[in-house]
Amino acid sequence: MKRLLPMPWHSVMLLLVWLLLNGFSYGHLFLGAFLAWLIPVLTYTYVRGHPPVKRPLKMLVYILRLLKDIVVANVDVARRVLMPNRLLQPGWLAYPLSLSEAFPATVLASSVSLTPGTVSVEFSSDRSCLYIHVLHLEDAEALTGFIRQRYEQPLKEIFGC
């Protein structure tokens, strides 16, 4: 069973998205069902071993807050682009990670890239540190604290690690 249908929820989601994108017909139901079976079988090897989402509701809250933060951060970056370059104070930041699992760390790095004027550039090889480039760095301590309590703490709770 596990090998025949490794990720049943993913399969249901894939089939639903396929039908919503293509409109319902028996042909698409058949093709979508085939793809919904095939894709999880092929990709299961890469997903196996990742910590599961333990708190789906918190995940939803996290995503909504991230969307709001994306809007705020975008307006902020747009403003800085329009201001003269000489007012810009770019900088590097070494963010001490306390998440150790690969997948949650990837989610954190992506959130950081999408939000507060920061882009994740490199992990240290022991994954203890995330190097970030900041478009306008005023207070490194404050930014570290912000990322810690706004993104990393919730992610730790969501993935339970």
Partner: protein, 123 residues
């Protein structure tokens, strides 16, 4: 229903124009910002919001004129939000390991060298 359509015209126009404005600022930033890493910020941020707003406008427009909810735009935005940070990460990483110069006043410049060596935090 006609009234709703008239108001939705304004909303759609607002979203599409805001989207275009942000995409323009993103592209402008790509030209005027001083070094590679600062340039990385403009397209990953401003353009993401610009695309999001434009797609939302398109979603509302076609949902109302067809009379059924369309999710194509939602799926496009989802893929955009998933891929934008990954491509920014890959470009930033490539620039870091090729020692692209940063402008003089960049703070904590020595961290870039440590990042290129993938050093952890010294205990």
């Amino acid at each position: 229903m006609n009234n709703l359509l008239a108001y939705s015209d304004y909303l759609v126009a607002f979203l599409v124009l805001t989207g275009a404005l942000f995409m323009m600022i993103g592209s402008w930033g790509l030209v005027k910002l001083p070094d590679f890493f600062t340039r990385l910020h403009a397209p990953t941020k401003a353009s993401t919001l610009g695309m999001g707003a434009t797609l939302l406008g398109s979603l509302i427009w076609f949902s109302l004129s067809d009379g059924s909810l369309r999710i194509h735009e939602l799926v496009i935005s989802l893929f955009l939000f998933l891929t934008a940070p990954v491509s920014a990460y890959m470009m930033g990483k490539a620039a870091l390991h090729r020692n692209r110069p940063v402008i003089e006043r960049t703070q904590d410049k020595e961290l870039a060298a440590r990042a290129a060596r993938q050093e952890g935090i010294s205990k």
